[in-house]
């Protein structure tokens, strides 16, 4: 029921806008250490970048840009990534999610934690992106991969 929007202005503006939104989303994910932002907000922005074409462009084009299977896949992979990061310290004797316990040559524990946070934020962003795209897809009735 949601397909190409009648107005060409809207279509063009949205098509031009969405890569920038995607980029802004990536920036927000990566910027979480130093300012407001992080996986959740960033994941939402990236999802909006994918959802905008769905609301305005012709269906085939929008689904070619971000296929419907991307939703569940990204959600699952994001969660799996988070879990794997959490489990990694278990293997070296730390507790679950204790990134500091992983020893990487030349890096202090605090630096390892810093990197751990980055990976976690990325995983969260991926999962949020997937979940949001999936919700929008099922609501608009395009749920089949």
């Amino acid at each position: 029921m949601i397909g190409a929007y009648p107005s060409v202005v809207v279509r063009v503006v949205c098509a031009l806008l969405s890569p920038f939104i995607l980029m802004f989303g990536l920036y927000v994910v990566a910027h979480g250490h130093y300012g407001p932002g992080g996986g959740f907000a960033g994941g939402v922005f990236i999802a909006v970048g994918a959802i905008l074409p769905r609301l305005t462009l012709p269906e085939e084009l929008a689904y070619r840009l971000v296929p419907p299977a991307a939703g569940p896949l990204a959600g699952g992979v994001g969660l799996l990534l988070f879990l794997l990061v959490g489990t990694l310290p278990l293997l070296v004797g730390g507790s679950f999610l204790d990134y500091g316990a992983v020893e990487i040559a030349g890096l202090e524990a605090s630096r390892v934690r810093y990197l751990g946070i980055l990976v976690v934020e990325a995983a969260v962003g991926l999962a949020v992106f997937g979940a949001m795209v999936l919700i929008v897809d099922v609501l608009t009735g395009k749920d089949r991969p």
């Binding site: 959740f40 979940a131 099922v138 749920d143």
Partner: protein, 213 residues
Amino acid sequence: MIVPLDLVLFLVLIVTAVLALAVKDLLAATALLAAYSLFAALLFAGVLAVDVALVEAALGAGLTGVLFVIAILATTRHSSPRPDARRRWAVLPLIVAFLGLMLFASTGLPDRGDPDAPAQRGVSQTYLADSYADTETPNVVTSLLADYRSMDTLGETMVIVTAALAAALVLIRRVDDPSDRTDDPRDTPGGDADLDRDLGPADEDGYGGRGPR
């Protein structure tokens, strides 16, 4: 000094909330709801919760609005005008009782902004003091989110994935819908309606117009 602005924002919030519930046009209600979330985000920013403000603006005002709009386009734009007077009288005492309880409870809260409040002297001191040494991350909310309380974040990620899966389970077309089963018709009168069953003119009240498209 920002107190009067706070007060104004709060009054605007209350007005938008009431309007969002009152207007008949659901798209207008959604727009008002998004405005409500946006004003809430402004308030968050006003009391320096910048991360929360960002997420509330993106998720609460932005994406929730989009979801509502999509759902309304897929269903109907007009809210059913039917007042439910009896239920209102049953519920109002409950709400008054709830307000009384909350008012009673909030008398024991520390004053807003009190630096000696227990919460300010509690665990968050440790987070603020140690965040940089522990994780090299100046944004304490991030280090809290992804390190000190990362299990919360894992749970939260699971919640959002769960919600997406649940929504998919609700709406996705399933191979074997319950109505296809060999239920005795007398046992389940009417049966469980199929997803695609056409109920015909179910919406004769004149409000069944679908969305603009």
